[in-house]
Symmetry: D2
Subunit: 443 residues, 4 copies
């Protein structure tokens, strides 16, 4: 294990057109992908455990392809790709950049090998350094937005590497361990507190000024929000066990229709990665199989499970506007970002799992880290939203149907990647990401 992890970096956001600072930031983010891979065996890079997931080596190559395709090819004169087939193999979903190799078959490719993918990364990194070295201000101005997106893109894939890896390891009866756990002492968790808000016209969304944000976070715009209250912390596994003990998975009246259909067709009776062990429950973590801890936030629940729990609890999920209003009000709008919240549990902490409810959370100040929080908001364009022209227009906008917004980042998210306006989105039945929930209610 390298020192990089034990001395977690605060990766600075790019706020300047200084080429050497950009390159430093580029190297930090790219290196973090390697750090995350340190515990892996070569075999671990190859497997795709379901169509939603990708092999680790595919993630490493795809994020590299992104820089090659959007930075090197248009901007580095005479750039020669090391392998033209990579253009096809490592294009994820950009139709404007050509055909893509079949997504569910990514795990059927033993080649390129991990070593060849690393060589591809080195090749592109070298050329990126060369490109930045020689870039005048004009080129730098063009490059910067692409590099910013590319690095944020790599951070997203760093999170996916952990969640895809966890899904793959969880299928293995040998229960392999990614990294051993830092065991925290068992704590008592007091009841969540309701934080109340008056009705009013609020502005939400990113204003495009304060650092990087994805296109889908803007424009900043007004929404009318009725009076509401939101819980001071996430729902715990202990609370969720009460829902289960009260026949939560056997009472259709608690569930959305699509959710109940899943319960019945898949025989669901607990969150993903929970394994019944006589009367007790264990759960698979990246540190292996161990008992469920009631003082931790419940995780790996679908929107359906989150929604059913909330209904059982006499509450509901927050809308994304409510969540953002509450987070901004609680943390302070400019402080409502990962790198301004040293107490939040992001990936650099090395837990790879939500921590027991913290003092900060108890104080009602914790909206970031630990787990992505399901909202009741479908993922839709904000008023006045326009996707960017070109391939980056495909990044976010074409997924604006049948997905649900999640907020706040997780224990697998890089710290510098998150802010209160950040909109993550997944289909409502997904569970393999670090998903949890926070309750809300009408005032």
């Amino acid at each position: 294990m390298s020192d990089v992890l034990t001395a977690p970096k605060t990766m600075e956001r790019i706020g300047t057109a200084d080429a050497s600072a950009v390159l430093e930031r580029y190297r930090q983010v790219r290196q973090w992908s390697d750090v995350l891979c340190e515990p892996l065996e070569t075999e671990d890079y190859v497997v795709q455990s379901m169509p939603d997931a990708s092999p680790i080596k595919w993630h490493l190559a795809h994020t590299t392809w992104f820089f090659e395709t959007l930075a090197l090819k248009p901007h580095l004169p005479g750039y020669a790709p090391p392998n033209r087939t990579f253009e096809y193999l490592f294009n994820s979903y950009y139709n404007s950049l050509g055909k893509q190799f079949s997504r569910p078959q990514r795990g059927l490719l033993s080649r390129p090998t991990v070593a060849e993918v690393r060589e591809y990364r080195r090749h592109v990194d070298t050329r990126m350094a060369e490109l930045l070295d020689g870039a005048g201000d004009d080129t730098l101005g063009d490059l910067l937005p692409v590099i910013e997106v590319g690095l944020n893109h790599e951070q997203q894939h760093q999170e996916l590497m952990l969640t895809d890896l966890k899904h793959m390891l969880a299928l293995n009866p040998l229960h392999p361990v990614y990294r051993s756990e830092k065991v925290a002492p068992r704590t008592d968790v007091p009841d969540a507190v309701w934080i109340e808000f008056e009705e009013g016209l609020h502005a939400i969304g990113h204003d495009g000024r304060d650092g990087f944000a994805y296109d889908n976070e803007g424009p900043r715009h007004r929404v009318f929000v009725e009076a509401f209250a939101i819980a001071s912390r996430l729902v715990t596994a202990g609370e969720y066990l009460e829902f289960m003990a009260d026949d939560g998975y056997e009472r259709p009246e608690l569930w959305l229709s699509d959710g109940w259909a899943k319960v019945e067709s898949e025989g669901l009776e607990a969150p993903l990665y929970w394994i019944g062990d006589g009367g007790d429950w264990k759960q698979i973590t990246l540190a292996g199989l161990r008992p469920v801890r009631p003082d931790e936030p419940v995780c790996h629940v679908s929107l359906y499970e989150a929604d059913a729990y909330a209904r059982w609890a006499g509450a509901r999920l927050p809308t994304e506007a409510e969540w953002e209003v509450a987070a901004d009000a609680t943390l302070g709008r400019t402080a409502a970002r990962g790198d301004a919240d040293p107490h939040a549990n992001f990936v650099e902490e090395g837990h790879y799992h939500p921590r027991p409810i913290s003092d900060a959370a108890r104080a009602g100040g914790q909206f970031l880290g630990d787990l992505w929080e399901w909202t009741r908001s479908a993922y839709s364009p904000y008023p006045g939203y326009r996707p960017p022209a070109g391939p980056l227009g495909e990044y976010n906008s074409k997924f604006m149907s049948s997905q649900v917004v999640l907020r706040g980042g997780s224990c697998a998210t890089p710290r510098s990647h998150i802010r209160s306006t950040y909109r993550n989105f997944f289909a409502p039945d997904k569970r393999w990401q670090f998903f949890g929930l926070r309750l809300a209610r009408d005032a």
Copy 2:
């Protein structure tokens, strides 16, 4: 063909606790189900052409089961069901009322026969008359909401009977005709006009006072709407043909990701029921196969097709708030209902198809009838929404995920069923209902 159709009824809404008026309304609505069946052969009642659809005889029985279960059993002392198995066969999705026969297998049941289903209808109708006859004011007060929902429920199934029938007949190479068409003369269609609205805080939703509305239409609440413009009429088939001619079905950049996946996996190249015939297009209607008419609204498009067309046209779909604000402003809020709009094309007109763009539509006054209009709004609860207790709580609320709101009613909708607050909802890939689109744009 009975006279009922040629002298279309204005079915009065129940606004009174007068038992005889209620019974008259009950009889009118129930009779309309029979009127719609007049052209059918016995065989037409049996088939289920896809899991989304149901056999006609199932619709006739299920709507009857609704009254039996929710009115007769709780309110008519000593009521004896004619067949206990019907409780299971004709329960659609009410988990609180017991198990349901497998939905995709509804078309595998030859029994009960059509005659037996009619007998079941007669039995329940007789007992309903008996119940209403003997009802005191208290009972009537309890019954009225149930009967109102039951009649609106039957109206919804009347629309489904036509759309399910159309889907089934369309699969038949013999191209059977439901009812022959009233041919309208070909017209020129002028460009749609943009109706503009200022930004502002608006109230939408049903206030619970002015006649019947479904629970999901309320509560009436405030939304902040940015300035926008909305088209004065629906998009026509002629306009849609231009989209097709401009390679609309071959350009992934126009499509939502899920939509493009459908285009590729199902080889889509035109709306449902369109059949390429050399250079020309024909379409299957309830009057059989005939050429596509460019002066008619395009119909049987999915949300994905509607959205792709709008993007191609440099516009977008309206939100449901925009649509309601525009409809109320244009028609007048109290007049924005089907039975106040004599020019609208509802099922009683006997077209069973959208009409060529009308003068009213040209004048910008047409928001109801012809086709359900896709919005870009996911189907979600309104702020403060609470589903009713008991089985009726399952009617609308449990479907509030992965569905999209449509507005306005169609040529298959009973006139008295519609108002501007009405929220219809379907999954975004569905096409077999009478679905069309109207454009909107930011101001």
Copy 3:
């Protein structure tokens, strides 16, 4: 119910080129299709309960199409088909006669109606009479083989009509009755007797001289058969219950690998149509739901179940050669045909179910009727086999892979349809036909 059934016909086989005798035979066989339909409601003709089955009205139309296509079109000058689309709708699998409507969608067609199908039958019957009336000896010589095949073909579909109908009715929770049962008194069943045969070179198969046979029954040829013994009767439900009680469905070592996979994936624990009722078993028959009778042959078992039972019993299934050698030896070769065995339980008996083990069976003389008997022989061409030229070449030969031979005819088979050389064939997992088993063993 007409008298036809209660006075069962001995339908004479065509042994002559006498046109009027042929027409009489034609009418008898065709009329029998109507007789079988007498208990049906219109709705019963429409449904297709699984891809293997077809709607009753499809059977009625397809058998008519057969005569229209292979007799009328080539032989009746100026013959005009009433509907050209029928050529497509009612072609089952004859690629040489054009494209076919999708088999799994046969149940999605409400039209033509039952009345229209009957009219189609009348039209073709009238023209067939006309054709036969006017046929000279030459034409008759050409026609006769086609008509013979066509009538045998219709007889096969008569059996399928009953089995497809049974499958459809069995899905219906109302448990509809086709025809009420003739209840036979309960009997004791003595142990089966082993009939022994010496090793030797035997001839099997049809020699092409003695009346009609399908192409796949010939040529008659020699096979060397080792010494073997075969049981005097079918395995009973009582015996099969012992297998079940001895955990027959829970012991993989008893099963072929494909069969065990079915047991596990489909949760099999009894023959098709058996319904556990506390400690007891009921079964769905064409006379409705009633208790399993231990004195009846077990029916609706797959090859896998038959094979597993045989292994459990320390025996095996016979090869088709063994079966034929035994049947010919027991019954006498010329007598080994349905119309020579008045005691056999064929469809004309009106049981539509295997009878309790009869005295004849006890005496070891019963090889025909009651149930088709699984053999361990794959369905392959006999040495020297050549399929006929033209569309009839598709009748049997193209199915000679992945199917298993069954012998002997069933309670749903027309008596005149069966002989000892008759080779029926189905995939080994099928159960909806009247399938049973007889044990064999090495000497």
Copy 4:
């Protein structure tokens, strides 16, 4: 590459109870698995490209599990398995030895790593040496049959390793090469000669005396075979191209029904691994992508393709009895085995592909090697066959349904593994093994 391949071993069959000879044979066969893996990267061991295939590391572990389970556990006192989970992970299909990890998910397991599997192999090999070292005559007598089966089992998996690897590499657009080809000069291929046989009673099958044979090869028994002729060599790619040019894949009358359904549903138009390249055809081999050679036997055809070709050619496939009679007559019965035929193309030759038609084949003497030859015989038990008791009874007998026999061995088969009585079997639609065909006809 080690010398082992270039100096191919004649692996002596075990004909003695001499422990050291047994151990030498054990080491030779086990070592060959390593030799085959020499060209592989670690990543190549992990992938499972379809449910029929397995990862290479699974093959290496499963063959080891076989010896551990059947030799070490019962016979080596105090044997301690290194990992109890391996008992579950590496059991293929032996229900009598416990539950099995889901077959289609074998490729989802990154652990145990390749190194751990090699360690497992070393562990078991060491213990096997220990066991054999210390074995008295009695133990050796018990052990020998198990070791013989185990080594033949490993040889079967050596062939599967190559065919599974080929299937996986063929999916990769990078066209990885396993080993480069030894290019043979292009040759002219004369017409095949018909070798004729009189009708007669023949004995086929293994008599249990002359060396090892699988249970399913016996007992030796008599079959009556009609006069027939069989081709002197395999059908070539050149001949198959004529079938394709004559619209072989577009004429349903040439195909078995199941085969035609595959042609239509999968759009088949050539053998597996053939890729159309303008007017020409290329094929993927273990040496990469290169043009189809007309002088080579056509390979990677299904039973359906083989059967359709034969029908097109006015011939048919041989039965397995015909094939064995012809092979024994041509080669001499005692010489009809791989290690007695130095000219045959087995895996030790290092071609991994059928060779161009050889002089031996031209002379009519080649029945072994190059390609497995489809017969028209379903895989059934021979008369008098009894599977062995215990787990080895599951080895062959439970697959005796829906499979077809192939004969002769292939370029991927170890030389010492094959004899004329050897019965390989696969489902008729499979193509990924080295499958070809030889014609036969009635005399």
